[in-house]
């Protein structure tokens, strides 16, 4: 947490000036009709992506020269918030003058980068990142229509979140690049899981082949095995040097092996919420469950016992803080 997160700001304050300007006056907003395309000797492509029921939808118009595959004109219409409109506009701008094959290589990151005022400051806050992801998907949709292949075969992709139409590879990539560890983060970045929630974990109203929690587990295992490889090469990592995931695993193991049984015998339990470095201290935030909750000893005797075991097994600088 910390000071910056205690009082939230408004997301609008985090928009770049470019995003604001494009929302106020989108440059490539508009339509291309059959007649206009015909006059240019071009093929009209009209591609849709998203859905109003999901809060974002975009229609992309391309006039493509059938001889050179060059996108002569590129326009959009969009149902969405300011960043969706600005991203769609930027995407349409980036398409102009490119061939269809080149346009397909435009990513959501290109779109977002193009909207930055300076290279080091994101154009939009994380929870608005999905808007540029959609701008990128609609290009692929348009290209698939132009090439006469359907999008699935063009992408050869599994879609994990149907509502936000987020693909498996996008999810794997976003999780890895940004080192995401929670479903909420995935939702902020990609919008996957924000709507019907079926894709988060089994038990929703629609059964899936793969869920967001599976992807997180997969990434976690990948990190663990990399860390295991690394420690096999060097010396065993000390607790202080471990990554967060490793720390949580290590604490979990100590709790399972040495602590949980003692709590369960009294009708209670605990869970680990977070681990944070605080100066020299390593603070482990826990939540008591069952009978531990509200038990007088949970802030005295029991707490000291838990802390001492963790100190002894892992690191002398550990502090245990019940929430």
């Amino acid at each position: 947490m910390g000071m910056d997160n205690l009082i939230g700001g408004t997301i609008w304050d985090e928009y770049s000036q470019k995003v604001t300007d494009l929302m106020n006056n989108p440059k490539n907003m508009g339509e291309i009709t059959e007649e206009q395309a015909k006059k240019m000797g071009a093929k009209l492509i009209v591609a849709d992506f998203g859905a109003e029921s999901c809060g974002d939808a975009v229609r992309l118009y391309w006039a493509v020269d059938p001889n050179t595959d060059l996108i002569l004109l590129s326009k959009f219409k969009s149902f969405g918030c300011g960043t969706a409109i600005a991203s769609s506009d930027t995407m349409a701008e980036l398409c102009k003058g490119k061939t269809v094959d080149e346009a397909v290589k435009i990513t959501n990151i290109d779109v977002e980068m193009a909207m930055r005022d300076n290279p080091d400051t994101p154009a939009v806050p994380p929870q608005k990142m999905h808007c540029s992801v959609m701008a990128y998907d609609v290009i692929k949709k348009a290209a698939s229509q132009y090439k006469g292949v359907d999008m699935e075969s063009f992408e050869a992709e599994v879609i994990v979140c149907e509502c936000a139409r987020v693909t498996l590879s996008t999810l794997r990539e976003v999780i890895r690049i940004n080192d995401l560890t929670t479903v909420e983060q995935i939702t902020d970045y990609t919008k996957a899981g924000a709507f019907c929630k079926s894709c988060i974990r089994p038990g929703g109203h629609e059964a899936k082949d793969i869920y967001l929690v599976d992807l997180l587990e997969e990434y976690e295992k990948e990190k663990m095995s990399k860390a295991a490889d690394a420690s096999a090469i060097g010396a065993t990592a000390t607790f202080g040097d471990m990554t967060l995931v490793q720390k949580i695993k290590a604490v979990d193991k100590v709790v399972d092996d040495n602590i949980r049984q003692m709590l369960i015998m009294d009708g209670g339990d605990m869970e680990i919420l977070d681990i944070k470095e605080n100066g020299v201290n390593i603070d482990i935030y826990i939540r008591y469950l069952g009978a531990c909750n509200g038990c007088a000893s949970s802030s005295t005797g029991t707490l000291f016992a838990i802390e001492n075991i963790l100190k002894e097994k892992l690191d002398q600088n550990i502090r245990v803080l019940p929430i």
Partner: protein
């Protein structure tokens, strides 16, 4: 012109309220618990303020109206103390709330679920109202508490708290109502219905932020949430927020004085404004006016995402809302719109205009003109109204 139409979120402090509060910062800053003259200067103003708050709620003297820091505290207090007294002890195992309660009820209920409490989240009907008989359907002999808001913050829908109170009385279940959106908008009389606990918050009726209250009927007093120096009869320790209490007292008095004005003049202004908004094609309002607080309009503009409408209004210095959970932090659609079962493609199009007694005709005329411009501009951008060649299979209605 600056226009503030987000009065269900918070309100301007009435200047008369501010005047009453001012002496309690630099002049009469005593701690009421002390013995000396600086403390005693606060006693009469505090007593007067409490009398105004009691009068505003029509609360009998023997009942307790305990001052808290906000409605969130009051709501947490009710749920957590009921949990501690009835559920943790195994006497009961269940509480009932509506699915459109304020987050301070919903999030607290979810937290209690993790500690073994069963919670029923009652649905609302297509008019955005909880039907009293659904409460009856879900009450069991293990139900400890029903907590249903008096009026909804999003739609302004007034819930049948009288009938719900009667059902709870009949079944021997405690009844709490979050009346935050009701004070100053509709008559609130704790003797007019069977209610055990009632939450209010000063900043929703032109009082200061940081002060609220929990009404508790005699004999139904809760165990304290905050322990300490025994202020507020030991129910809520903590040095008294003298200026806040004085401010809430004055704000309550003003709200009661202005209630007729709110229910006639403001209602009429709201209705006229709503009539004009509904003349714009493809606009929708859910809850019927008669079932709403007089100041609130939740209206959908088809094809315009709520946040982009707010953006255009904001550019013209008009403050409104898309609903408490929408454009602010998370990206989910308006929960009330979802609960009502509105057409899926309208779920992200709702805008809330909430007026107050400080709202003027001129402000609403100006807002109407800005809304019309915004609708034209944003529908011009919207894919919902966009051209598609003949035979184009729209991929935009792939909702679920």
């Amino acid at each position: 012109m600056k226009v503030y139409l987000d009065n269900n979120a918070t309100t301007i402090v009435d200047p008369y309220v501010f005047d009453e509060m001012e002496p309690f910062f630099v002049q009469k800053y005593g701690n009421p618990n002390s013995l000396h003259y600086v403390a005693s200067e606060t006693h009469i103003p505090l007593k007067t303020a409490m009398e105004k708050i009691y009068a505003g709620l029509h609360a009998p003297k023997e009942d307790s109206v305990v001052i808290t820091s906000c409605a969130t505290e009051s709501n947490n207090w009710v749920l957590k103390s009921v949990y501690n007294e009835y559920i943790l002890t195994g006497k009961k195992n269940h509480i009932i709330v509506s699915e459109v309660e304020h987050p301070s009820i919903i999030a607290t209920a979810r937290h209690l679920e993790t500690m073994g409490c069963k919670v029923t989240y009652l649905p609302i009907n297509s008019e955005g109202v909880v039907e009293a008989n659904t409460v009856r359907d879900f009450i069991t002999d293990k139900t400890a508490l029903v907590s249903i808001m008096w009026a909804n913050n999003e739609t302004g829908a007034i819930f049948p708290v009288w009938e719900i109170g009667n059902i709870c009385e009949e079944k021997g279940v405690l009844f709490h109502t979050d009346a935050v959106q009701a004070i100053g908008k509709t008559p609130v009389d704790v003797q007019g219905l069977n209610v055990d606990y009632l939450t209010i918050s000063a900043h929703k009726f032109h009082g200061p932020k940081g002060v609220g209250a929990l009404y508790m009927k005699k004999g139904r007093e809760l165990a304290p949430l905050l322990h300490g120096g025994s202020q507020m009869g030991g129910y809520r320790s903590g040095t008294l927020n003298v200026a806040g209490i004085v401010g809430m007292g004055k704000a309550m008095e003003q709200a009661i004085d202005a209630l007729d004005f709110e229910m006639t003049e403001i209602r009429e202004m709201r209705d006229d404004f709503e009539d004009e908004l509904l003349k714009i094609p493809d606009t929708f309002v859910v809850t019927p006016r008669k079932k709403r607080t007089p100041n609130t309009i939740l209206i959908s503009f088809r094809g315009i995402e709520g946040e982009s409408m707010l953006w255009d209004l904001n550019r013209s210095a008009i403050a409104a809302s898309t609903g408490s959970a929408c454009a602010s932090e998370d990206l989910e659609s308006n929960p009330v719109m979802e609960a009502i079962g509105a057409e899926a493609d309208l779920a992200h199009t709702a805008i809330r205009f909430s007026l107050s007694r400080f709202t003027t005709e001129e402000e609403l005329d100006y807002t109407l003109a800005v809304v019309k411009e915004a609708v034209e501009r944003l529908r011009g951008i919207s894919s919902s109204y966009a051209y598609a060649p003949e035979g184009h299979e729209s991929g935009l209605d792939a909702g679920h």
